[in-house]
């Protein structure tokens, strides 16, 4: 063992991490080397001195603060469970959208007809502007309904179509927006979630949308959707969005490629 080797193993020696074999070599060198003995003695005395520092007690404020924080989170979770979004959506749809497939077909056909009327309306100039605007509003409402109904569907291809339908809606209602955000947050299919990211990107001027995007970034597990979220949040250029990205890159579960992608994006915005 050289002097350098001995020095290198001092931290292990102090932590009691040397094997009996290594300990033998360690003591062997010390017996022959005055300067290493001194080196160890000094380092070891510092190590021991540090051990004199007692653990300090935090104030009782820390504990009470923690438990109130925990209670707050428990209340929030309980409220979510009591009032799940899908049930509210279902109730809303029941009042609007017929249950029977045959009626749904008819409704869709009606939609097409409305489209045709609008098309003709533009060509042959409608009687009054008011009438035309009314028609347009109705078409928007129809688009919303179709989107909502599809978003609530059982098959992932339906839900994907629903997300894509939202691109025909210029000004989404709160319900449609909420449904989209819910899709992003909890749809089991990553392609659907991915499409939801794109769809929500069109409405990212609304603060609530940014909140949902940042929230789902912390929960999203699919690297593909994570990257879509990162790109969107960077494009949004909002303080909250950048903060969420900073938290995100700290998360242990993030795969290195995605973390690198986020860091690259963030460095571009600084």
């Amino acid at each position: 063992m050289t002097c350098k080797d001995l020095q290198d193993s001092i931290p292990d020696y102090l932590a009691g991490a040397l094997s009996s074999d290594e300990l033998g070599h360690f003591h062997g060198h010390l017996a022959e080397c005055e300067s290493c003995r001194m080196e160890l003695e000094q380092t070891q005395s510092m190590w021991r001195t540090l051990g004199e520092l007692p653990d300090e007690e935090p104030s009782p404020r820390l504990r009470s603060h923690f438990y109130s924080l925990l209670e707050e989170e428990k209340r929030r979770v309980a409220k979510e469970l009591r009032d799940p979004w899908p049930r509210r959506l279902e109730a809303w749809l029941n009042s609007w959208w017929p249950r029977r497939p045959a009626v749904q077909m008819a409704m869709t056909a009606a939609l097409l007809i409305v489209g045709v009327i609008v098309g003709r309306g533009i060509q042959s100039a409608p009687e009054t502007d008011v009438e035309f605007q009314q028609l347009q509003t109705e078409v928007q409402q129809m688009h919303e309904m179709v989107s909502l109904s599809l978003l609530n569907g059982n098959s992932s291809s339906d839900r994907l179509r629903g997300v894509n339908w939202t691109s025909r809606v210029d000004q989404p209602s709160a319900d449609l927006l909420e449904s989209l955000m819910n899709t992003l947050d909890s749809d089991p299919n990553e392609n659907v979630r991915m499409a939801a990211v794109d769809a929500l990107g069109r409405f990212s001027d609304q603060p609530v949308v940014v909140d949902v995007l940042t929230g789902s970034l912390s929960r999203e597990t699919s690297p593909m959707v994570q990257i879509a979220l990162i790109d969107l949040l960077i494009a949004v250029q909002e303080k909250k969005a950048l903060e969420a990205l900073r938290d995100f890159v700290e998360m242990q579960s993030v795969v290195p490629e995605v973390r690198a992608h986020a860091e690259k994006g963030m460095s571009g915005t600084l």
């Binding site: 931290p11 000094q42 540090l50 653990d55 007690e57 935090p58 820390l62 989170e73």
Partner: protein
């Protein structure tokens, strides 16, 4: 009832049994508090950051995978919270500032005798570089193995050990006057 492991507790938290975080708080809050106190020297901010660490554990509970030890996960969060704190308070002391402090302050022996030993130790700790101090705190006070520290900080074990060694030498230099003679 058998006691649950840290991993079982945190997994339960992740799966919705939030009360289990209380057990982890009782077990680790004092350790975390001292981890921050020895690096910041300030009880108030240390408590604030402990709070923040538990808030993050709660907020990111869904991301807990239970690979590796629970403490590795916890200290990774703590380490990042500490870095964030330093960023926010821009608490970086320039090197020549330290040298100036060292040359004008009463000799460390004097300081050592005047104030209590503990105070002197805290002062010396505050003069260490952030990197060295953190490694020393984790290994000496939090009793973590070098391998675990290497996983928390994401640097090689060799680097960690070298930092412990240099940190001890620096501390000695700050506490006693033998400064320049100590090899680094």
């Amino acid at each position: 009832m058998r006691e649950m492991t840290d991993h079982q507790l945190m997994s339960a938290v992740r799966d919705g049994d939030l009360d289990k975080l209380g057990y982890l708080f009782e077990k680790y809050h004092k350790q975390l508090y001292n981890y921050f106190l020895r690096q910041l020297g300030d009880p108030q901010s240390s408590e604030d950051i402990v709070q923040e660490v538990f808030l993050k554990m709660l907020k990111y509970r869904h991301t807990y995978r239970g690979e590796g030890r629970f403490t590795t996960w916890m200290y990774s969060i703590a380490h990042n919270a500490r870095i964030d704190h330093f960023k926010k308070t821009s608490r970086y002391v320039a090197t020549d500032e330290i040298d100036r402090l060292l040359s004008t302050a009463p000799s460390p022996e004097e300081a050592f005798e005047k104030s209590s030993r503990h105070e002197a130790l805290y002062k010396a700790l505050s003069r260490l570089s952030d990197d060295k101090r953190e490694v020393l705190v984790l290994s000496r006070f939090q009793n973590l193995k070098y391998e675990e520290i290497s996983r928390i900080l994401g640097c090689p074990v060799g680097t960690i050990k070298a930092r412990v060694f240099h940190a001890l030498n620096d501390l000695r230099r700050f506490l006693y006057k033998s400064g320049g003679e100590v090899t680094r």
